[in-house]
Symmetry: C4
Subunit: 220 residues, 4 copies
Amino acid sequence: MENPLWRSTPEGEKEIARIEAFSDGVFSIAITLLVLDIHVPTTDQADATGLLSQLLHLWPNMLAFVASFFFILVMWINHHRLFTLIRRSDNNLLLLNGLLLFGVILVPFPTALAAEYLQHRDEATAVMFYTGWFFVIAIFFNLLWRYAAHNNRLLTEKTDRQLAAALTRQFSFGSPLYLAALLVGLFSPLLSIVLSIALAVFFALPSKAIQRLTESGAKQ
Amino acid sequence: MENPLWRSTPEGEKEIARIEAFSDGVFSIAITLLVLDIHVPTTDQADATGLLSQLLHLWPNMLAFVASFFFILVMWINHHRLFTLIRRSDNNLLLLNGLLLFGVILVPFPTALAAEYLQHRDEATAVMFYTGWFFVIAIFFNLLWRYAAHNNRLLTEKTDRQLAAALTRQFSFGSPLYLAALLVGLFSPLLSIVLSIALAVFFALPSKAIQRLTESGAKQ
Amino acid sequence: MENPLWRSTPEGEKEIARIEAFSDGVFSIAITLLVLDIHVPTTDQADATGLLSQLLHLWPNMLAFVASFFFILVMWINHHRLFTLIRRSDNNLLLLNGLLLFGVILVPFPTALAAEYLQHRDEATAVMFYTGWFFVIAIFFNLLWRYAAHNNRLLTEKTDRQLAAALTRQFSFGSPLYLAALLVGLFSPLLSIVLSIALAVFFALPSKAIQRLTESGAKQ
Amino acid sequence: MENPLWRSTPEGEKEIARIEAFSDGVFSIAITLLVLDIHVPTTDQADATGLLSQLLHLWPNMLAFVASFFFILVMWINHHRLFTLIRRSDNNLLLLNGLLLFGVILVPFPTALAAEYLQHRDEATAVMFYTGWFFVIAIFFNLLWRYAAHNNRLLTEKTDRQLAAALTRQFSFGSPLYLAALLVGLFSPLLSIVLSIALAVFFALPSKAIQRLTESGAKQ
């Protein structure tokens, strides 16, 4: 039998709070490090063509920056949504969360790769590596959620099973959609990146399930 | 009808707390990464002219660092003031806050640009890009506040409407003032940066509205 | 006599909370900075051999990244476990925790060293420096725990002595095991790194002592 | 009249908590970024002299890293001590705290400078700039504390005036001692850095005043 007053156990809340704090740290640093790959044009380059023209040539870097920024932001938003439903931690949750953070921390590398190789002979390889990494992270995210949600293992008592099932359905779209973006990269690397921005917007928009979640949070 | 005890709802407070934690992370990382663009002079350069002379030549980097530091600091102070008034979150708030963070995260890039190109042929372009980015962030900040404050949508019950209206007025000066700093860059890039430091000081000084806010916070 | 209500003393909890916040910050930044040492191949390199081949040549960087990521993650998990048992701080704890953070902050340097020198003439030196640093950090970690646990000095009242002794035993394996990984580096640098990944997994898996800790945390 | 229940005002505590969170973020990032200035020797250098010899040549970088690490750590410890005494914030506190953070954020630059120029013709200039910056930060720290402590302006009710006066005395040693370290740099740059490490240890050791503070915190 669960203690109906679990919400006031300091230990469970403290544990979840520290996982969130560490994860928030990693998300916020990974998203901020993205800027380090946008390099200022050298004055030699600017002397040759003018600075404005050099800045316009940075569009692949800006595009990759925007796509990765919104990917990490939306990943954080959904991580944050999940953890409003998770009430306690166990060792596997720590490791699965660690796997997700592993994915997020690496994002600056494929981002720099896509930025460097867009408009280059190898752009398909670079962009498929890039969207492919989003696909992998989407899988890690599903593993985390499904582990926590399986038989309401780690969820709060107030979480109804229908809501959890609806979220499972919504998140399960993530991997195939990013796989589709990856395959599009075979034909049009640029479109593949634009698609991944669109996917971030899609996962930011609350589904009905998320809306119910938000509303039930507000009502409580 | 609102529950008069909303202040004790753990969900609403936890949600706002995690947005603040993520935002604080981003603000503090973006402000700290600014130092990475102040490069130590090479020993070859120092051998030619002496180290002190090389250090003095770093003044554009220091000036841009100071301006961006205080811009981000004051943006953080005001973000922090706003969130003392906001009591709950919704999906749009998360996205508008994400847009503001997008602006803040990019600040190191125009900062490095201004530092590199001050005293160079292209300084007007670089500095207008720099203060122009502050202008864009000021717009994002206004969007965030106006969304939250519209009809007291997400504000705490204790926030009186006069105070909210006074803050709306104060913040609405931000965008035109940074636009003015941007236009000054056409004639004097240096003055444009100095103006943007002055603007940061101006927005750090509490207006009467802010003072009332601080006092009401202290009295409660 | 201890106040049986110590759990509600705001000062003790606030102090521990701030140490955890600072440590979480350092852990999450150190782990995220690891990505900065995975450099995108230059387009010149890719033009010569194809991008995919260049990416495959990054395997020493990826291996070192993975080993250091899991080392820091598991160090954080165990740090987090300890601090669920520590209820108050003193000056020595602050300094010993500082020593541990000193170790963690430096990790990106030996990681970059191992990545650069794997498959190079000096790989044994580089890898022994790398796993040697893990050995040093394991010592720092033991110092921290033993100081806090000695006579239950800083532990919570609920921590039973058997549990503390079991943890002391488990953690005391850390230093000799990392020393073994270090010595293996004399013969096979690659195996030494693989061993250090295996050790991270080992310390992530909860021993019986840890399991009891987790369960007692869940039951409370 | 002060409300005797001020400890339970959520607004005051939340405000201080967010200043601490932002400051903790900045301290932990600045301290972690220090590692970025320890560069792995190139394989060309190692081929010429052996890797071990190259690593030993990094001692100025390690020394500067150690000195700056402990400076920031001890600055954080003392910041943390102060904020256990500060119960509410005002606009000036935010700005003075911002000034202190400005000092801390810049530390990686003089650290890299000292590391690069130790054993070089310009070492006195570089090291005086380095310890000089510690001197400036010590002034900022005193400004912050004196502002908060003046007439117990922002302190908690439990803080007795004798304790506050003792802390004021202890902290007031900071600026002249760092000034002395700075002047020693004129004759022996190396000794100047070693002195600044000794000063960090000195300010980490609790004075009687600090001990009373810690004890009173533990007893409450």
